[in-house]
């Protein structure tokens, strides 16, 4: 009895296996020619040669590029709300929501990119200084008289007052308190009242002279987005009548809301995409903006803005190569492993920009020996950041010596930064580092057990605290002894594990290693990221302070509003919101207060660099490194600039200026 053989099935199976093997062995790029370089290899901000496809809704002329029918921006997480009250509150404060709703919002003043200046948006001119009226101070913002919502209704001063009052009365949190600046019931101010003098004039009353943080460059009332009263008024009224007004307001739908920005929100299909359209009534269309050294026209030059959702970066890069999307938005940037794939495709561009953040080593200042500046200084001297970033991390990161990122053009001072880098022991060889650290510790009264001091020894056992001919370095033979005569117990350095962040894990292991060379017993403890957060931000509500149950840790912070960097106060001032290291320095606090009260940007900048000097000297944190943010976009589109702090994602993918190539 002969069994019939299913030849078709066999052939199919063989073909399938063959196809999979071929696919796996193939180069995924379609072209291996050199990619167009981005910001780190030369900016790609030149205009295109010919206009591309034409759209209907785009209001502008597209500069030297053409208009786009649809600008597709790939995202990686759901857009969970269409409500701007929620977006700027803690409930919806989410970067993915920001990518879609951010371009729909307008404020009296805005941040100009790439130069990071505060420039008028809805306001008629530059911000006027406040004037004193009796015991109070009064500021005025005059709105332009050509402002309209996307539905054609005029934007008025009353809309501003409505937004400010609603945010204050509903107790909205996260970004709103900075915008409102009304304080609390117990401590009101600095803004005590806001009123619409006429259709275009908003008057602010302050109970004290406001500094730049409130009235100028910071996230104060001038930068508060204005929401339309004719749309949200009834919603707010209805919410106010409920038992849970705040929750009711942030749960309300924003579908159909008029926009004051370059786009008008369209819809969200949860799990799939979000979509916006061009604002045909955008009041800024046609305006030329000069920021930094770039001048560009404002659009929009695209009719539609789609935000398809991708589950993983691999699929998203395939979609980018296939022309499905024009830019991939991700606050953490794209994986470096995908860079070769993109650079091997002539239709795509990879661009790297500095981030508005830094990775650092922090000390618990309430515990010895971390409370001793000499100890921190000696440990800093031992950390060869260039060696770690260039050799161990193979250029995946670059060393930092000041907190303010180089990409913040408006505030960065290269000369002072170079000086502070020297203070942070940049560029020293290892022997000089060891000698410096030993010298600092010895001068501060630290000792080592008999015959165990680190240093240079010759063949006869003669000791030198510095490198010398015929002497070679020998690491400490025992743990260091503090100035009080007690040996230093093993100190724990907690840092993210290699699975979460190999860069910080490498630095953690390296620091523990070099510390032991001079007898500082540091134990590197790779820890789950969430666990680190739990430990270093443990907060005691009764004492309203951080408990700081750690010795040292390595983490990374973002730095907030780049136009007015208030992070120094938050991280290091006594009682600062993020000061979880118990660092307290009266001189620093005084400088931070002066910074907040500064009357001009120049004065603030001068004080900020004094703060940086103090940090470089006292070393409450040791800045370690940054990685930059890697982004990919299609050459079907072009931007007036691609070199900008935190990348194109930080400006929502630049929907107001993007054109076709």
């Amino acid at each position: 009895m002969k069994v019939t053989k299913p030849y078709g099935l066999r052939l199919l199976a063989l073909l399938a296996v063959f196809a999979i093997i071929v696919a796996a062995c193939s180069d995924s790029s379609t072209d291996d020619s050199t990619a167009t370089t981005g910001a780190d290899g030369g900016p790609s901000t030149t205009a295109g040669e010919t206009p591309g496809t034409t759209g209907e809704g785009g209001g502008g002329e597209g500069g030297e590029g053409g208009t786009l029918e649809t600008y597709n921006l790939g995202i990686f997480e759901d857009v969970t709300t269409d409500n701007p009250w929620s977006y700027l509150d803690s409930s919806g404060s989410d970067v993915w929501v920001g990518y879609v709703l951010g371009p729909t919002l307008g404020a009296p003043y805005t941040i100009g990119y790439p130069g990071l200046e505060v420039i008028p948006d809805m306001a008629a001119g530059d911000l006027e200084p406040v004037v004193q009226e009796g015991e109070n101070w009064v500021g005025t913002i005059t709105l332009r008289d050509d402002l309209t919502w996307s539905d054609g209704e005029p934007i008025t001063a009353q809309d501003y007052v409505f937004t400010w009052t609603t945010a204050r009365d509903f107790g909205l949190t996260a970004n709103w308190p900075d915008y409102v600046d009304a304080g609390t019931e117990e401590a009101p101010g600095p803004v005590t009242a806001v009123e619409a003098v006429d259709d275009h004039t908003v008057k602010f009353t302050f109970n004290a002279e406001p500094g730049l943080a409130v009235w100028g460059l910071g996230n104060g009332p001038p930068l508060m987005p204005i929401l339309p009263e004719h749309f949200w008024g009834p919603v707010v009224e209805e919410a106010a009548a409920t038992d849970t007004p705040r929750d009711t307001l942030i749960a309300a739908s924003g579908v159909g809301q008029p926009s004051a920005g370059v786009t008008v929100f369209g819809e969200i299909q949860e799990g799939s995409f979000a979509a916006s359209a061009a604002n045909a009534n955008y009041f800024d269309t046609g305006r030329e903006i000069t920021s930094g050294d770039v001048t560009y026209p404002v659009g929009p030059f695209a009719a539609n803005f789609n935000y398809p959702l991708y589950g993983g970066q691999e699929a998203a890069v395939l979609a980018l190569a296939d022309g499905e999307v024009d830019l991939l938005l991700n606050p953490l940037g794209m994986q470096r492993g995908l860079r070769d794939q993109v650079e091997g495709n002539e239709n795509l561009t990879a661009v790297v920009n500095p981030t508005n953040g830094y990775r650092f080593l922090a000390f618990n200042h309430s515990r010895a020996p971390m409370s001793d500046p000499a100890f921190r200084d000696a440990l800093t001297a031992m950390i060869n950041k260039e060696y770690v970033t260039e050799n161990l991390l193979q250029g995946a990161a670059f060393p930092l010596y000041v907190l303010l990122p180089e990409g913040n053009e408006a505030w960065y001072d290269a000369d002072v930064a170079a000086e502070l880098a020297e203070q942070g022991y940049a560029g020293l060889d290892d022997d000089t580092r060891r000698a410096t650290a030993i010298s600092i510790l010895t001068e501060a009264g630290y000792t080592w057990p008999e015959g165990a001091a680190p240093g240079w020894y010759d063949a006869d056992g003669n000791y030198s605290p510095e490198p010398a001919d015929g002497f070679s370095y020998t690491a400490a033979g025992g743990d260091i002894i503090g100035p009080d005569g007690n040996p230093i117990e093993t100190l724990e350095l907690i840092h993210p594990n290699a699975g979460y962040d190999p860069l910080r894990a490498t630095f953690g292991g390296y620091i523990a290693g070099v510390a032991r060379e001079i007898g500082i017993p540091i134990s590197s403890v790779p820890t789950d990221f969430g666990k680190i957060i739990d430990i270093v931000f443990e907060f005691d509500e009764e004492t309203a302070s951080y408990t700081s149950p750690f010795d040292m840790f390595i983490l990374g912070y973002s730095l907030g509003n780049p136009t007015f960097p208030t992070f120094h106060r938050s991280f290091f001032a006594t009682g600062g919101d993020s000061n979880n290291t118990q660092y307290s320095n009266a001189e620093f606090d005084d400088l931070a207060n002066q910074f907040d009260a500064a009357a001009s940007a120049e004065e603030a900048k001068e004080i900020m660099w004094q703060l940086e000097r103090l940090i470089a000297t006292d070393k409450p944190h040791v800045p370690l490194f940054d990685t930059g943010i890697l982004e990919f976009y299609s050459n079907n589109v072009q931007f007036p600039f691609t070199e900008t702090l935190s990348g194109l994602q930080n400006i929502y993918g630049s929907p107001g200026t993007v054109t076709s190539k």
Binding site: V3, S28, A315, F529, D534, E541, G560, D577
Partner: protein, 385 residues
């Protein structure tokens, strides 16, 4: 049987409470919470973080949080999603569950159907090159590193050949401004498909009872299947959402086939082994001796008895839908329970993760019950006590 089912349901209820409690406690052991997402931004004041913790009840003692969760759960409230505040967890899951079930169910059914058929055939024709080819292919598919395989499938059929979309659930350019909601359309598609299957099953039963001749029965069943399928197609053809339904179906094919292929290998190998054991039984020799046709021996005598372990594995696989779907959903950008679960874990959205796991728990418990009941139907030697 009813008493058995009743007793099992009581046991399942107790087990479920235990399961839910353990899940909830394990999730609490995870370091960090949702307020951590606000850390490290100097523009977000500390007060905001504390207020958020208070609003979500995270400042309460653990036992209070636990009791609130459990009591709310059994009153039909799974709580509010922390990361999608103030959306209800049940509403979020309700959107995602059908997508995952369709993805996993279709992929698994396809794999089991293909795997059982081919496993049966290669065991029957043992020793040939076909068997060797299938075994090698099956082992490859069973042992392949799934994320790599899924990406290769996406690259090959989505990007290189361009036959299918590069992942996702729907085409944004088609749906944008269409006025249709993808979830509504998808749920309608599931409903109409379910009705069609039920109509077919009804017709099949009717044909079996009325038509005496086996060959006539088979022909009538084929005609019924064709008519039901044509009816389903006709319904959607004249529906205004026609192109949108097709778009969903088109996006479903590649993830379903990928998921099906990796499951296929295991099913085929299980079936083959089970079938080989059955073919060695005395009653198969008796059937051969009686001169029964090969097809009857293979399909009625051997394959039906070889089906038992395959059915067990199928039903239990259905209970673990989330686990099976996480990688597929991530790679194919499929917005189902797996993706939600992963996002929930990343941001410590405990109500959402606990809700997703609760659903998995319920499905697994019911899967076990179904297996027990199916056993008694498939194997008359097994009786419940």
């Amino acid at each position: 049987m009813l008493r058995f089912i009743g007793r099992r349901l009581v046991q399942m209820f107790i087990l479920f409470i235990l399961f839910l409690s353990i899940v909830w406690l394990l999730l609490q052991l995870m370091p960090g919470d949702i307020t951590d997402t606000l850390i490290g931004d100097p523009n977000i004041p500390l007060a905001t973080r504390l207020e958020l913790a208070e609003r979500l009840g995270l400042d309460q003692p653990l036992y209070v949080q636990y009791w609130t969760y459990i009591t709310n759960f059994f009153q039909g409230e799974m709580g509010v999603s922390f990361s999608r505040y103030p959306q209800e967890v049940s509403a979020v899951l309700w959107e995602a569950i059908p997508r995952t079930i369709v993805l996993v169910l279709t992929g698994t059914l396809l794999a089991y159907w293909m795997g059982f058929k081919s496993g049966k055939l290669i065991a029957w024709g043992r020793g040939g090159k076909t068997e060797q080819t299938f075994i090698v292919g099956g082992i490859f598919l069973q042992t392949v590193f799934y994320p790599w395989f899924a990406i290769v499938m996406l690259w090959l059929f989505g990007f290189y050949f361009g036959w299918f979309p590069i992942g996702r659930f729907i085409d944004v350019n088609l749906w944008q401004g269409s006025g249709f909601d993808a979830t509504d359309v998808f749920q309608q598609l599931i409903l109409t498909s379910f009705i069609a299957v039920m109509v077919y099953v009804g017709a099949k039963v009717l044909i079996k009872r009325t038509a005496g001749n086996l060959i006539v029965q088979q022909r009538l069943q084929r005609i019924a299947a064709l008519l039901v399928f044509a009816g389903l197609v006709a319904y959607w053809y004249f529906n205004p959402a026609r192109e949108y339904v097709w778009d969903i179906v088109w996006h479903t094919i590649l993830p379903v086939v990928t998921l099906g292929l990796v499951t296929f290998g295991a099913v085929m190998l299980i079936t083959r082994t089970s079938m080989l054991e059955t073919l060695g039984e005395d009653y198969i020799m008796t059937a051969r001796a009686k001169g029964l046709p090969k097809r009857v021996i293979r399909d009625r005598h051997a394959a039906r008895n070889a089906l038992l372990p395959v059915v067990t594995s199928f039903v239990l696989a259905m209970g673990t839908v989330i686990g099976g779907a996480i990688i597929t959903e991530q790679i194919f950008s499929w917005p189902g329970m797996g993706s939600l679960f992963l996002q929930g874990i990343v941001v410590s959205d405990i109500p959402l993760v606990a809700g997703a796991l609760a659903i998995t728990g319920v499905l697994t418990l019911f899967a076990h019950l179904v297996v027990d009941i199916l056993y008694t139907i498939l194997d008359p030697r097994i009786r419940v006590t």
